[in-house]
């Protein structure tokens, strides 16, 4: 990426970001310009004070109170203007970047929630979180120094213009000194790039060793490897130190150099001023103004350099955000789809295929191949198959979370995709093996849609045997989850997740190994009560024999397809099924 194109793209990004929230940005720039004016104004005031107040006082020996009062007022006024400028610039620059962040986060929110499940399955969680946090923040980083840079450019123009009105020769000195400062600054940023990047990489290494080592603390301890781990960490830590010291050394060279140049410029200006005063072209007050202007001129160079440094990382982060922003949201079908019949729902699946895309390749891994089966309304069907055969995928397909590659899924006789989404999520409940808890109360975790009565929540909690442990908690259903001290066990979480499904009185209930962590005895109690009290069709992925035996019928899934269907006893004649069930028996 050439420097020019970086700058051009940087300008493009600035246009985009500023276009989103132009008003605070405009205020901020006005503040910066006011600041610039006041800063140059202060040099003018100081010069005038020397010429009109200090010098006459010494010449005449008389203090003129009026002039002095004006001078004092001018100093205060110029300072107050400068302060207002700074406050407006900073506050509104902050507001611009914060508002852009809000806009970006809203866009992310919309897509995180609106994009299909298949998108989530192929996008790592960590990446999505990094986008919402660091990348959103970094992408607007270049907005912070921008108003200041614009103000600084004003400072440069105003100062040079002012210098020209004082004396052309002095202006020449300034024109020799400050571009040189810019060049050195530019060279400095380039030199520091490499060790700074190496340092960043070393930080990553240090951090991943720490993560791994502390996560494996038990292993490290039992194997007596603490010393070796300490050495491994120290190597990474010393490598980081090495790069950091290099950065520090470069800074140690360049910072004083960047400091010394304006000072040398000022000394040159003093000499030139001497000649010009002698020639009658300048006053002593002018000389004071010139020296302050010179120290002010160092500003724009450094500030603009800082702005340039923020451009590439901002571009990279903004680019990353496009991975999400570029996704088109599916049109919402709410209220437009078909309604389902009343009562327990029938399920028909015909010739359904499904495959997962394999990472970084064109091929995809076939999971389900020509799956066909039906479940009668009110029937309890167990789905049995070995690990990785596609049971969970099948459940997600039936719940409409992912679409099949081919084939038809009909629920209550209606094509799944034609069903109104609200109707669908109301009627079909899928309970996952990995139960997800929201950081909210137990009641809110059961009634996620917030429309059940207390009685309904308690009934669902009773069915799912949540009551037994909720009663032991001081705040019962109001107990907050995710807070320290209240950690539910895996089985308890699964019971809450089950209650979440039951409270909706689903007409098709899908349990994807949803009670695997529940105590077997409790599981039996729950499942047998479900059969008695719930008017629903049930599809249950089972790993325990007793669970299998609660079903009216068993579907045996192997090699991506339904191999057999029948009662448990009937299926025991099939070798693969029998082996699997025996293994389950051993394992429990």
């Amino acid at each position: 990426m050439s420097e020019r194109s970086v700058l051009r793209r940087g300008m493009g990004l600035v246009r985009e970001l500023v276009g989103l929230h132009p008003v605070p940005f405009a205020i901020s720039v006005s503040g910066a310009v006011l600041f610039a004016g006041a800063l140059v104004g202060a040099s003018y005031v100081l010069g005038e004070v020397v010429d009109r107040v200090v010098a006459p006082t010494y010449r005449t020996g008389e203090l003129a109170p009026n002039t002095l009062a004006w001078a004092a007022a001018a100093i205060v006024a110029v300072t107050v203007l400068r302060m207002i400028g700074v406050v407006f610039r900073r506050y509104f620059a902050g507001m611009t970047s914060e508002r852009v962040q809000v806009t970006f986060r809203h866009r992310l929110t919309e897509r995180y929630l609106g994009l299909p499940m298949s998108w989530h399955q192929r996008t790592p969680t960590g990446e999505l979180l990094a986008l919402s946090d660091a990348d959103v923040e970094k992408s607007v980083d270049l907005l912070h120094p921008l108003p200041f840079s614009i103000g600084a450019a004003c400072i440069a123009v105003l100062s040079l213009g002012y210098l020209l009105t004082i004396d052309p020769y002095i202006t020449l000195v300034a024109l020799a000194v400050f571009p040189a400062l810019g060049l050195i600054n530019n060279y400095y940023s380039k030199r520091i790039e490499e060790p700074a990047a190496a340092g960043q990489a070393a930080v990553g290494k240090v951090s991943s060793i720490a993560h791994e080592s502390f996560e494996g603390a038990l292993v490290v301890k039992t194997l007596g490897r603490s010393v070796a781990e300490g050495e491994r960490f120290d190597r990474a830590s010393q490598e980081l130190r090495h790069h950091r010291v290099l950065v520090g050394y470069l800074r140690a060279v360049f910072e004083p150099v960047l400091d010394i140049i304006p000072s040398l410029g000022i000394l040159a200006a003093v000499v030139v001023s001497g000649y010009r005063i002698e020639a009658g072209a300048m006053t002593v007050g002018n000389m004071i103004t010139v020296t302050t202007l010179f120290s002010v001129l160092a500003f724009p160079v450094r500030v603009f350099g800082y702005f340039l440094e923020t451009v590439p990382p901002s571009l990279v982060s903004r680019e990353r955000l496009n991975r999400v922003f570029d996704e088109t949201l599916p049109a919402r079908q709410d209220g437009r789809g078909r309604r389902l019949p009343d009562g327990p729902l029938r399920l028909d699946i015909a010739d359904m295929n499904f495959s997962y895309p394999v990472e970084a390749s064109e091929i995809s891994e076939q999971v389900l191949d020509k799956v066909s089966f039906s479940v009668e309304p009110g029937e309890v069907v167990a789905l049995v198959g070995s690990t990785g055969v596609g049971k969970s995928t099948l459940c997600q397909l039936v719940a409409g979370l992912v679409p099949p590659d081919q084939g038809k899924i009909k629920i209550g006789g209606i094509d799944l995709e034609a069903i109104d989404p609200i109707e669908r999520t109301d009627a079909i409940a899928l309970v996952f093996q990995e139960s997800f808890m929201f950081a909210d109360s137990i009641a809110a975790n059961i009634d996620v849609s917030n429309r059940a009565t207390v009685g309904e929540i308690e009934h669902a909690a009773d069915l799912a045997q949540v009551v037994s442990f909720v009663d032991e908690m001081p705040n019962r259903y109001d107990t907050l989850l995710g807070e320290r001290g209240v950690n539910l066990s895996g089985g308890q979480r699964q019971r809450v997740a089950l209650a979440r499904a039951l409270v909706r009185r689903p007409r098709l209930l899908i349990l994807d190994d949803a009670t695997s962590a529940v105590d077997p005895k409790v599981e039996q109690q729950i499942l047998s009560r479900l059969g008695e009290e719930l008017n629903t069709t049930t599809l249950v992925v089972a790993q325990r024999v007793a669970t299998i035996m609660l079903a009216d019928r068993v579907l045996y899934l192997a090699d991506g397809t339904i191999v057999a269907s029948g009662t448990h006893e009937e299926l025991m004649g099939i070798e693969g099924y029998e082996n699997l069930v025996r293994a389950y028996e051993e394992a429990s």
Binding site: T57, L68, R82, H106, V206, V219, K221, V245, L580
Partner: protein
């Protein structure tokens, strides 16, 4: 160094020196900030690199600061000596030779200052980075000495921060804030010295005029800390809301709660925006406070100095120099106000890392200790009790922890003898203390009271080296390091030179040769982060091979709770059977089939050992174990349809 910015900017003459040297007396108002003092004392003890060569650094720093003030002096001298005004004609003549001479001297000083500044910044960078690197490693080593009570999952993030983000905060400070602190107070000091050369009265006025800024700044900073805290909390809240919407994507869709989730997200985004903008108010205001009082100081100096110019003996050039010098105080004050936030963060981070270093070591290793003899180990446990120590808020990292109730022991008064070579199963519900019992056997923590003796040797007296060889624990999740299978196995042996054939043999002996052959790259197969390319069961296989390699006399196995696929499960059972031969084995059993096969079953309930005996005896006795067993039977045996 932290909360004392206003005092520093007030340029209390020896603040910086004293703060580092003696750690006393930092407040200009006479108050001693205990927190800062003890922080510095502890910090310098832990990081001696910072103390080294301090006098030289300070001397060069002072030279740099004074050198920077040379410019206004040169201008004053150029005006006073170089520009001659004739009173009658109102014309000026200029002595160029004088100006040239002054400028030449100034140029030399400016160059010398640049060189001195270069040397000093180099020294500071080197010392600070060395100090940070060593601090980081010490903290890391200390954390590995923490007992298992401090190594639970909820604290892991915090522990990682102690060696990553906290030292990084210090590094950022070392790169910017530290230099600001090393130079700006000295510049202020220099301004005061030079000002008093012209007139001590002017110096006094300049300092007094800045004084009110102190109080305003201090007040604003206190507010800023509060507001910033709110901001940080809101960022955390927002991120966890985002995290929920991403990790709960399936649940959100399955239950059609997208709209509600979106409202929650928008709320948290809005709260973050509001708190951030509130913090920005202080950010914007802080920088200009010094400016305002700077202007007041300038006006006061101008008026009073002009009025009293004869009494105070001020020449025209001298007065101009006073004005410029007073103006020069603005920048260091502004810069120090800017650094404040960073300094605050760095101080907090430093404190947290130092707290880790001051954290008591729970498990103190004997020197040299008694070697455990080889062969199967007899375990004698007497009146063993264990409670997780309540952490004091001081040694913590800001997270609140409720002190554990003294009565809330994880283990109470456990007495049992496990004969050498027995196969023992420990059963009980979650929280019964069975896992804690297993961990204490491996000395992952020391008992609160009672004793554990291995072949007659008190566990705490056993030498660390022999303990590592004689006691082996196979943890539940079978954590592996992100490297090959072979290296993970070799990780267990004390020597670093385990040959491949030894590793392979170790698998063979457990009857797992077929498993390694089935792996994509055999023993060189990478196991991935935390070993996640392998299943839980397979990770345990690797851990078993690792244990086999060192031939321990006592093997402690924490069974996996999550589902292990049938094939791996059979392999595990086989391998364990072979591994257990000729050793004492204690299994924390989550499945009763393990207990069925054991010689001795220990049943734990709420921290107590309630039943002890063989499987058959316990079933006959009809206690807790019998109940568990009956439930299990009903659930697994394939009987004809039963209710």
């Amino acid at each position: 160094m932290t909360a004392t910015l206003p005092d520093e900017s007030e340029a209390n003459s020896n603040t910086a020196n004293n703060a580092i040297d003696n750690g006393i007396e930092i407040g200009a108002d006479g108050s001693v900030d205990e927190g800062v003092v003890s922080l510095l004392r502890r910090g310098l003890k832990a990081t001696p690199e910072l103390k080294e060569g301090f006098a030289a650094t300070a001397t060069i720093g002072l030279f740099v600061a004074i050198g920077r003030l040379v410019i206004p002096v040169i201008i004053q001298r150029s005006i006073d000596d170089g520009v001659v005004r004739s009173d009658d004609t109102d014309t000026v003549s200029v002595k160029m030779a004088t100006i040239w001479a002054n400028v030449a001297v100034a140029a030399v000083v400016v160059a010398a200052v640049a060189i001195a500044s270069w040397i000093n910044q180099r020294r500071l960078a080197l010392r600070a980075e060395m100090g940070i690197a060593n601090l980081r490693t010490s903290a890391f080593n200390r954390i590995h000495q923490f007992s298992l009570a401090d190594h639970n999952e909820s604290r892991r993030g915090a522990l990682v921060s102690r060696v990553t983000s906290d030292p990084e905060a210090l590094a950022r400070f070392a790169q910017w804030g530290l230099f600001s602190w090393s130079i700006n107070p000295l510049i202020l000091l220099g301004v005061m010295i030079v000002l008093s050369l012209y007139s001590w009265q002017v110096m006094l006025i300049a300092v007094l005029a800045h004084l009110p800024a102190l109080f305003v700044l201090r007040w604003m900073q206190k507010r800023q800390i509060v507001v910033y805290d709110e901001y940080r909390t809101s960022v955390g809240d927002m991120l966890s809301t985002f995290s929920e919407s991403v990790s709960g994507a399936a649940a959100i869709r399955a239950y059609g709660v997208e709209d509600q989730t979106e409202r929650g997200l928008h709320d948290s985004i809005a709260v973050r925006y509001r708190t951030r903008m509130r913090a920005n108010r202080y950010m914007a205001g802080l920088f200009v406070i010094g400016d305002f009082f700077g202007a007041l100081a300038l006006v006061t100096v101008l008026v009073l100095a002009l009025w009293q110019r004869e009494t105070w003996g001020l020449s025209e050039g001298g007065l101009v120099a006073c004005l410029i010098l007073t103006n020069l105080m603005r920048e260091p004050i502004a810069e120090l106000s800017e650094t404040f936030d960073q300094t605050q963060t760095a101080a907090a981070a430093w404190r947290k890392v130092l707290n880790v270093l001051d954290h008591p070591v729970d498990v103190v290793e004997p020197e040299p200790g008694i070697d455990l003899p080889p062969g199967p180990i007899e375990v004698v446990v007497e009146n063993l009790s264990f409670g997780y120590r309540a952490r004091t808020s001081d040694s913590d990292d800001g997270e609140r922890t409720e002190p554990d109730d003294a009565l809330d022991l994880a283990l109470r008064d456990v007495t049992v003898t496990i004969p050498a070579g027995t196969n023992v199963a420990v059963v009980g519900e979650t929280g019964s203390g069975k896992t804690t019992f297993a961990k204490l056997l491996c000395r992952l923590a020391d008992p609160t009271s009672g004793s554990i003796r291995l072949n007659g040797v008190e566990l705490a007296e056993a030498s660390p080296a022999s303990r590592i060889h004689s006691l082996r624990m196979v943890p539940q999740d079978g954590f592996l390091f992100d490297t090959s299978v072979a290296e993970n196995v070799a990780y267990g042996s004390a020597t670093d030179s385990t040959s491949r054939s030894e590793i392979q043999a170790s698998f063979e002996r457990l009857g797992l040769g077929w498993w390694t052959e089935r792996l994509q790259n055999g023993l060189d197969t990478d196991v991935g982060e935390r070993g996640e390319s392998l299943s839980v069961g397979e990770r345990q296989l690797v851990a078993l091979a690792r244990a086999q390699l060192v031939d321990p006399g006592l093997l402690v196995l924490d069974e996996a709770t999550s589902a292990v696929d049938p094939e791996t499960d059979q392999a595990l059972t086989q391998a364990l059977k072979r591994l257990a031969e000729g050793r004492t084995m204690v299994s924390v059993a989550h499945r009763l089939s393990t207990a069925e096969a054991a010689d001795l079953v220990l049943v734990f309930d709420r921290g107590r050992l309630v039943e002890e005996g063989s499987h058959t005896d316990l079933v006959k006795a009809g206690g807790i174990y019998a109940g568990l067993h009956a439930a299990w039977l009903g659930n697994t045996r394939v009987n004809p349809r039963s209710p």
